[in-house]
């Protein structure tokens, strides 16, 4: 067991160095900083009219939660595994005295940490900028800790699930990037936006992350009202329900959503390790 932990750690460290030093990480890092820049610009321009909690919540939901986080985590986790398999440099690890699950687990952890770092830096910078921009009291309500922490928790747990799904694709399919793209754009974006009544939405990771944000950002009343309206499919006012009642009734609790995300991560990671232990990744067909 000690050997397993040690080798997992070694693989994770090496993969982390490679991932964080790669051009693709730089690209996603740039996007993350772009999000922070957009946030600063929007808060500075409209913060007095809309309220910084609302702007921060809406932009983070649209840019980070629904787009950048799933894309970054999915891309990095697939790349961490699939690049080495397609380049065949994986033979050096596979022929070393390292248990296969330790290799894949190490790469999963490296991708998760890389995603957290890339997304975390942008998010942290966006929060700091928003906080400072409304520090001169030009804006109405201050950016509240509850707003930042609710999105922060979501963004903290999301990479565990997305990277597990990415690892599963990378170890199962040759064209894992296509599968990853289909998952993010078709499943997470499309199915994740279906009305609550369909039930499909609750099977997506993005829904759980959004639930954490909606439930936790109590200061962003405008954002919660919009979300409650969206959850009910625009029937909020018709049914005469208050946004708080809708959120209380229809949005799962934060611990429940966190558990859902982590359970998804565990299931996909388990499948990935199982497949990764059984499948051959060095076909050698093209050689002697």
């Amino acid at each position: 067991m000690t050997g397993f932990v040690r080798t997992t750690w070694l693989v994770a460290l090496q993969s982390l160095r490679i991932l964080l030093g790669s051009k693709k990480s730089l690209f996603f890092f740039g996007l993350s900083l772009l999000y922070a820049g957009v946030m600063a610009l929007v808060v500075f321009r409209f913060g007095d009219r809309e309220g910084v909690n609302e702007l921060f919540s809406m932009l983070t939901l649209i840019i980070m939660v629904q787009a950048l986080m799933p894309l970054t985590a999915m891309y990095l986790s697939i790349s961490a595994i699939r690049d080495e398999i397609s380049e065949r440099s994986i033979v050096f690890l596979l022929s070393a005295p390292v248990p296969r699950p330790a290799i894949w687990l190490g790469k999963y952890l490296a991708a998760t940490v890389s995603s957290l770092v890339i997304i975390g830096v942008g998010f942290f910078l966006a929060a700091i900028l928003s906080w400072n921009l409304q520090g001169d009291l030009r804006f109405g309500a201050q950016l509240q800790a509850s707003t930042v922490s609710s999105f922060g928790i979501g963004l903290l747990v999301a990479p565990f699930a997305y990277c597990a799904i990415g690892s599963f694709f990378a170890l199962s399919f040759k064209r894992a990037m296509i599968w990853g793209a289909v998952f993010v754009f078709a499943w997470e974006s499309f199915a994740g936006s279906t009305p609550a009544q369909s039930g499909v939405r609750s099977a997506t990771v993005v829904d759980a992350i959004r639930s954490i944000a909606i439930k936790g950002s109590v200061a962003a009343t405008g954002f919660r009202r919009e979300m409650a309206d969206w959850i009910t499919g625009g029937r909020l006012w018709m049914d005469g329900m208050s946004p708080e009642a809708v959120i209380d009734k229809m949005v799962p609790s934060i611990p429940h959503s966190i558990w859902n995300v982590l359970l998804t991560a565990l299931i996909y990671l388990g499948l990935a390790l199982l497949i990764g232990s059984r499948k051959d990744y060095e076909s050698g067909e093209q050689n002697g």
């Binding site: 090496q14 690890l93 005295p97 060095e282 076909s283 002697g288």
Partner: protein
């Protein structure tokens, strides 16, 4: 003592047969694995290195399954044909990083890296980035990595590829030395001369099947249906040709300017008779050279069988 054994091993890649019913025991010493591209050499090596599982049969290294027993892979020094690394890394960092997977502490990894890089003649280039290394340097780096676990079984897949003559000489000496030390060293190649430099013990493989095993002359002896060819240098080829044609062990002759080529059916009887004929000074025999005991000839016969 058997280090590596293949028991009726077959491997398919979808519908393509990679290796078929190979049954082979390998002990200490250098063994050449010879075959054309696509013959199944790399597949056999990958199965021994634990990279591939056989579709049928079993592969054992020191009695253990290398695919599922990670610990046994510490005793395998695998030098793959693959030429891709973490390109941005320096040679020494890459080897050191690999050494950690073989159980070395950080300090131990440094020491063993110095040791193996010196053995393969890469000490001077240790600080080079892998992307800046020549093909030969990369080959040496892979060999250094193969020596990390102080293994008892070396699997060297085309180890001389890309090496300059001096590099070839060094690696050939190294391979021989590893064999002398009691290690089992399997060297694959499709270049006959390469293998001949390292060992006379061969396994010939063609279209996934084991064709023959042994020294070149032993393998040649196994081929009964092909007449042997001898070149005899002499002063009077026609006269000698007449005498040789009278022998029942001779199938035919080709007269040449300063000698003749003889096609021999039964080597034993022919050599007995030839000793007497050649001793007669009237023929002026000055050389007798077997023409088809070279690897290429033997291999050609086996492949065309």
């Amino acid at each position: 003592m058997t280090t590596l054994s293949y028991r009726l091993v077959s491997k398919w890649y979808g519908n393509v047969l990679g290796v078929s019913q190979v049954d082979l025991d390998i002990g200490p010493g250098v063994l050449g694995l010879l075959g054309v591209n696509g013959a199944g050499k790399s597949t056999l090596m990958k199965m021994a290195a634990g990279l591939l599982k056989p579709s049928l049969g079993e592969v054992r290294v020191l009695g253990e399954d290398p695919r599922n027993q990670a610990s046994v892979r510490a005793h395998i020094g695998y030098c793959p044909e693959v030429d891709r690394f973490y390109e941005g890394m320096r040679v020494e960092s890459w080897v050191q990083g690999m050494a950690r997977y073989f159980g070395y502490s950080a300090r131990g990894a440094k020491e063993i890296t110095n040791e193996v890089l010196a053995k393969v003649g890469m000490s001077e280039n240790r600080r080079k980035r892998l992307s800046e290394c020549s093909k030969g340097m990369r080959q040496r780096t892979k060999l250094a990595r193969a020596m990390l676990g102080k293994p008892g079984l070396y699997l060297l897949d085309e180890p001389l590829t890309g090496l300059d003559p001096l590099g070839r000489h060094d690696i050939v000496s190294l391979v021989r030395e590893l064999g002398r030390q009691g290690n089992s060293v399997i060297v694959s190649s499709h270049v006959l001369e390469e293998v001949e430099q390292m060992t006379d013990q061969l396994v010939l493989i063609h279209q996934g099947r084991l064709m023959a095993r042994g020294s070149i002359s032993e393998i040649r002896d196994q081929i009964q249906d092909q007449p042997r060819k001898m070149a005899i240098g002499c002063e009077h080829p026609r006269r000698m040709g007449r005498e040789l044609l009278a022998l029942p062990s001779v199938e035919g002759i080709e007269i040449q300017e300063r000698g003749l080529k003889v096609h021999v059916l039964e080597a034993g009887a022919f050599f007995q008779a030839l000793t007497k004929i050649a001793a007669d000074p009237i023929h002026g025999v000055h050389s007798i050279v077997p023409l088809d005991e070279g690897l290429d000839a033997v291999f050609g016969y086996l492949v065309n069988k």
